[in-house]
Amino acid sequence: MKLLMSGNEAIARGAYECGVSFGAGYPGTPSTEILEEFSKYEGVYAEWAPNEKVALEVGIGAAVAGAKALVTMKHVGVNVAADPLFTVSYTGTNGALVIITADDPSLHSSQNEQDNRNYAKFAKLPMLEPADSDEARRFVRIAFEMSAAFDTPVFLRSTTRVSHSKSVVVAETPVPLEERRELRIDPAKYVMVPAMARMRRVEVEKRLRALRAFAETFPENRMEIRNGEAGIITAGMPYNYAKDVLPDCSYLKLGLVHPLPERLIRKFAASVKKLYVIEELDPFLEEQIRAMGIEVTGKELFPYTNEFDPGVIAGAMGLKTDASIKPPEVVIPPRPPNLCPGCPHRGLFHVLGKLKATFVAGDIGCYTLAFMKPLAGLHSCICMGASIGMAHGMSKALGEKGRGKVVGVIGDSTFLHSGITPLLNLAYNQGEAVIVICDNRTTAMTGMQEHPATGYTLQGTKTKEVDFQALATVLGIDSVREIDPYDLKNTRTVMKEELARGGSSLVVSRRSCVLFKRHSPETRKPLRVNANKCIGCRNCLDLGCPPIAWRSFKDRPAHEIVKNAKKQDGNSYIDADSCTGCTLCQQVCKVGAIEEVE
């Protein structure tokens, strides 16, 4: 059966086809859809864990009990899961454990561009890398077979272009792998105290040797011999780009990027006059091939940064590219991503951006966009959970100078991911900061995933719901408040009071994501600007709300112009089709010029 599938859908399909029925992960672009799609198959169990470390530990537990477990995350998620990762490499997995890392070359939706192939080498684990959706589907099965055969966790690395490109998949009937779930007590294998870990350490090296031998004859490490002039060693999506631009070269396409098949690489290198390595990000293959004493050309020509495309490869190889069009001679205004019309974050950050001399430590989520003008209400973003620790550290470092001037903001899902321990630290070490949980009742940025405070699981079961206020109180936070970010006046008052009072505070800014219909089924009337009242002060434009535009009087016919103030040179306009009627602009308008559309 031929289906058009994204790489992520194909990974889920591949797991289903080989009988995997246990999955865990944490959402993160570009990995999110893998577990979402997997969870829809008949008879599987899948869960969103609060973070990637927990997801991996859940997967380890399931695998030790004999299950075939799938664990999914984005590249930076592996940093969070790194602690269990490096030791499960020693214990092995009993059942089977496959970890998907979805990397993001070009940082389409990430804070860094790390190359997670390095984790395979670092943690001494095998890593497969598919180049398109059908390979993704097939490689998942191979990964599970390898995991069971070598008693090792196996990485499957995707990138944004593999995960989010669609191509034709030849779906097969599911043929379950054998699985025996039972309690299995084996301390020598699973209790990693030094004495036993030292023994397992030796096993890890034995396993790597066996995997190197396996790699030599692994059919997905594939030679395509065309001519003896130039040979290209590549893997994953760059293989496709290279094939488009350089169809006549010989190829060694690696399906397994760690460990490498040294004999096969030597054989391939000997068959061509000049050898290239084409790989995005780090010279991961190149350095290892060079260490084999093989002469190779790689990063001298190809960039270290950003994802490739066929044009990058043609350019690097010095090929004449097709006559390209000169861009039109006009300044094209940029279109950066923006908070949606009616986004509840807008009210909060409008208030935070106007607080004088206050540092707002930010975090990962849609609200990170509030750093941009005109809101300019966020001043840092490092990683999931960093806001709270940073706010605490800043308050401690500044002492008296920082009193009443340090805020940390974090989303609901991000707080549950890695904000609880730093909040505990803030209370325990008596920091002075106001922490705001931007609680929009969902994991919005990645597309409305459930988390431990939404009341539902990934597979739709009703469940327990964390109470942020009660949690903060038991952790020892001095003051706990709740605000509605659609109410600007109260939001401003509460923020000022909490900043003034000293000690630690938690403010829950609660209002459902405007795109998430569970909590806000009612529709509000859109608003419009009454030109007979607007004085052109631009207060409403300060909200950076997409439907609100400035219309200059210049170039407009005289009969359309209504001047309500002396120096007025234009007025605001609201696009009623996209306005959600959140009323923030109505609240900032001093002359009452913003009205409901009748």
Binding site: L4, P310, V331, P336, G570
Partner: protein, 211 residues
């Protein structure tokens, strides 16, 4: 598959991969449209790949979807200067991606303006001569008011289907193939409006040809 389809398939298969670049703004239904396009191509018996970016970029930012098809397709993304057809859901986005086109490339541009933040704030102008600028470099430009046609079809959200309709005569796939894929792509509730939107787009002729 009738004889005409077989011939078309042979013609396409004989040449290099062809490409369509869909460009617009998050929320315009670009990904849905490119899904439908890919299914039509797949059902016509050709290899097809498409690529787009999700996540942060979708929050009101630019959205593009590359579609490449032929006998065998490797890269899901097309390089600059090599796109056959640009299907622009918004005028500014048409300008932004013009340099992806071949000199002989063709363009369909939706006569709609969605203001980016700098234009809303009044700090940058929205180019008032976008279509003229497009026509300067390209001889085949189809300008279409997809929103009006979608409204006429009874669903303003069917703008993307109108644009697919406008694209369809340039691709030569059999109308009944489009019909079948449309039927499988929409719930009964919105199928009629989308079907009509597609035909209004397909039959639209005004503004086509040299500039």
């Amino acid at each position: 598959m009738d004889r005409k389809d077989k011939q078309l398939r042979k013609d396409i298969a004989a040449g290099p991969a062809r490409s369509v670049l869909l460009a617009g703004v998050g929320g315009q239904g670009i990904l849905r449209a490119s899904d439908i396009l890919c299914r039509v191509i797949m059902e016509a018996g050709l290899d097809v790949k498409k690529s787009e970016v999700h996540g942060m970029a979708q929050r009101g930012g630019c959205v593009t979807s590359h579609v490449r098809y032929g006998q065998k397709v490797y890269s899901p993304i097309e390089r600059k200067g090599n796109v056959d057809i640009l299907l622009a859901f918004e005028k500014l986005e048409a300008l932004r991606y013009l340099d992806y086109l071949k000199p002989s490339g063709r363009i369909i541009v939706n006569e709609t303006e969605i203001y980016p933040p700098a234009v809303n704030l009044g700090t940058m102008p929205y180019p008032d001569n976008a279509v003229a600028l497009i026509r300067q470099g390209f001889s085949t430009v189809k300008v279409i008011k997809a929103r009006d046609l979608a409204a006429a079809a009874g669903n303003i959200r069917a703008e993307n289907t109108v644009l697919l309709g406008a694209l369809s005569p340039w691709l030569d796939f059999a109308p009944d193939l489009w019909e079948r894929v449309l039927k499988e792509s929409f719930p009964t509730r919105t199928l009629d409006a989308n079907r009509q939107a597609f035909h209004l787009g397909r039959d639209y002729r005004e503004g086509e040809g040299g500039g």
